[in-house]
Subunit: 446 residues, 2 copies
Amino acid sequence: VSQRQRKSPYPMITVAEAVNIVAEHSNILSPIKVPVDENLIGMVLAEDVVARQPVPGYRASILDGYSVIANDGPGVYPVIGVSIANTSHLSTNKLQPGQIARITTGGPVPPGATAVVMVEDTTLVRASEDGLQEESVEIHVQVSDGANIREIGSDTSIGTIVARKGELFSAVGGEIGVLASVGVKEVCVYRRPVFGVLSTGNEVIDHKSTSELKYGQIFDSNRPTLLAIAKATGFEVKDFGIVSDDAKELEKRLKEALTQVDVLVSTGGVSMGELDLFKPTLQQSLGATIHFGRVKMKPGKPTTFATLPGTAGAPEKLIFGLPGNPASATVTFYLFVLPALRKLAGYENWNSPILQAELMDKISLDPRPEYHRAVISFDHSKGKFMATSTGHQISSRMLSLRNCNSLLKLPERTDQCKELDKGSVVDVILIGKLNKTLQPSLKSKM
Amino acid sequence: VSQRQRKSPYPMITVAEAVNIVAEHSNILSPIKVPVDENLIGMVLAEDVVARQPVPGYRASILDGYSVIANDGPGVYPVIGVSIANTSHLSTNKLQPGQIARITTGGPVPPGATAVVMVEDTTLVRASEDGLQEESVEIHVQVSDGANIREIGSDTSIGTIVARKGELFSAVGGEIGVLASVGVKEVCVYRRPVFGVLSTGNEVIDHKSTSELKYGQIFDSNRPTLLAIAKATGFEVKDFGIVSDDAKELEKRLKEALTQVDVLVSTGGVSMGELDLFKPTLQQSLGATIHFGRVKMKPGKPTTFATLPGTAGAPEKLIFGLPGNPASATVTFYLFVLPALRKLAGYENWNSPILQAELMDKISLDPRPEYHRAVISFDHSKGKFMATSTGHQISSRMLSLRNCNSLLKLPERTDQCKELDKGSVVDVILIGKLNKTLQPSLKSKM
Ligand SMILES: [Mg+2]
Ligand SMILES: [Mg+2]
């Protein structure tokens, strides 16, 4: 056992400084071509996309009815054909004055026809002897030219920009449907970063392990949480397991992991204990550059960020050493890692949204700026967002993240201000969904 | 070609009636046991979950420092051992008065110790001759009993309910971390429905097809959109492709699909054209019960809902026939299908959230209640949600869903009220995320 360091060699920087340093090293990845399908969700376009097909591609009926020449006006007319949404049965005969033709919703309006009359505005006058064919039909209304016809390109004309560079494919799905409808089969998007997750610590046991915890051991909650966030955000993640506090082992596992990812996220091993090997291993064995190793925040003080030059033209690798305490790991992931992943993936709005919310209860301040786990809901009567703490905020207490959708940005304690009163308005970083807290009738359940 | 039906045999019901009918048939599925991992996101607990382990499971140090007996007070003490977060090196020696022991963050406090002093409040007095061992250290401060120690179960005591029946695993990931931390390896959740998607129509061509569209053909945008929504919501989906307007083929494909899913979603074929075979096939060939076949809404009038009894104790199958026009299919999916999927999966809040928002521009009303595609953003200065239309709302225009995050519930037109003025407040169904429209600085970009 060697002598211990008594103070950290890393200067304490602010969260804003740390976020900026990470952002400087988070350079948008190169565009790749991908098919237009559901995997586009969460990706960002690297090009403007133009309609390759007009929609509709032919003069299409808006409803079920009869193609007519509007000028002919009301009256009884022979039914000369059918234009159903079925290319194998299409009549290419031109409609002549005094004729009408059946048509279905979306079907192609025959040449010569100038309008469509809806079936409800007609009656059958004569059927064929076997009762199967309509022979003549009465048109009851006068329609104007163009009525109930979607002209070629009236929804989307060919050449229209249907999606712009920088646009994000939303979970609503509309953007993907738009591209499909205009015949776009592939698009250029920014490559999404692949990130890796590992936990460090001799005391850390996989939560799925069936053996009982021994004295001094704890279950790993960081990897399951970070893997869950990854799945929810759609970023590809690789699980590199748990690494013991052994310098050689850590070096080997970090090197292995770094060949497979753009961003590596490790938890634990970043404090000043003698088994906190993450920083020395990065610097001495991997040759990484440590950009910061301490941040003035609670939780998350020992958060560490380093980079390793990419080889063979590959982009720089980002390495995050997050604290091992579960609330610290999760909070710093949301503050530093997720924005970096979004920025690498080309998001214009790579930072999490910030709201203002009113405190439902008073909160004591900490000497460090605190990122306080909370639930934000919208008070429809006040027109304001309201914040409720998730309770005791010690960084080891994973329960502080149960039902949490936001982090309150609390200022550091001063002699003048030791707590924030109920009703105070604070900045809030939204990390989850507001959805379930938006329904007025649900407010009482929160 | 046979004579056409001139009016629908299905009574026109309201959206509220239709939602209720679907809800009545959407019965929560049976619970299943699943492992605690990232796949829990979006699932609903079917049981209360109790902590199987206390956290911490041993008396743990909050920081790096020295375990002491608080009563001993400041002074120089021999360092008798190390309690690092590493079970193989644990000393089980009881700390005696006048002794101290090194300890790292999270490490087990040795028996006999009553507090931990942080390393910054100490100085090294004497090291071993080789300089590698600390022999005595001066403690500068008086600490009280219990200082910097997390007692057993102080974060979570054994037996605490850490998650309740009905709780949803959020995308924030905290709930999964909580379960991992207290040693829960499996939980009972409600089984999530599997749903299938198919498109119908002779004119409908897969959007990935490389051949040019022929006259009268259109690209299928419905399946890509519904598959995207499925992926984003996390519900398992099966793609049953495109089915031609052929009664035998449709019957075969529907039967096939229904053996594999809980919910089947078909688009197209529900109007009154002669090739609209969906309803007759369901009733006559599959023996399904059609609960409604017309809804008073725009878009989505011909929306159809049917059920088929489950065989061998399996739950009833739900069958949705959505209109083929792309905006209609997407809107009715959000209004009728997604809530049903959520209800089957055990969501307490299975309906989409409803907000009130102010119109940014005037909007003309339709004779039918309209579900108008829009973007909702939060105006921080007004404390109000604001609604902007996505433009022309014809049901064939997929572009009306680009960047859309919500559906405005517009009332039907009356003689008294033909349009809603700018500034009117309307109910809004949130179908997407507010996140990107929440940042004050981004408002101008919307
Ligand atoms: Mg450690
Ligand atoms: Mg059809």
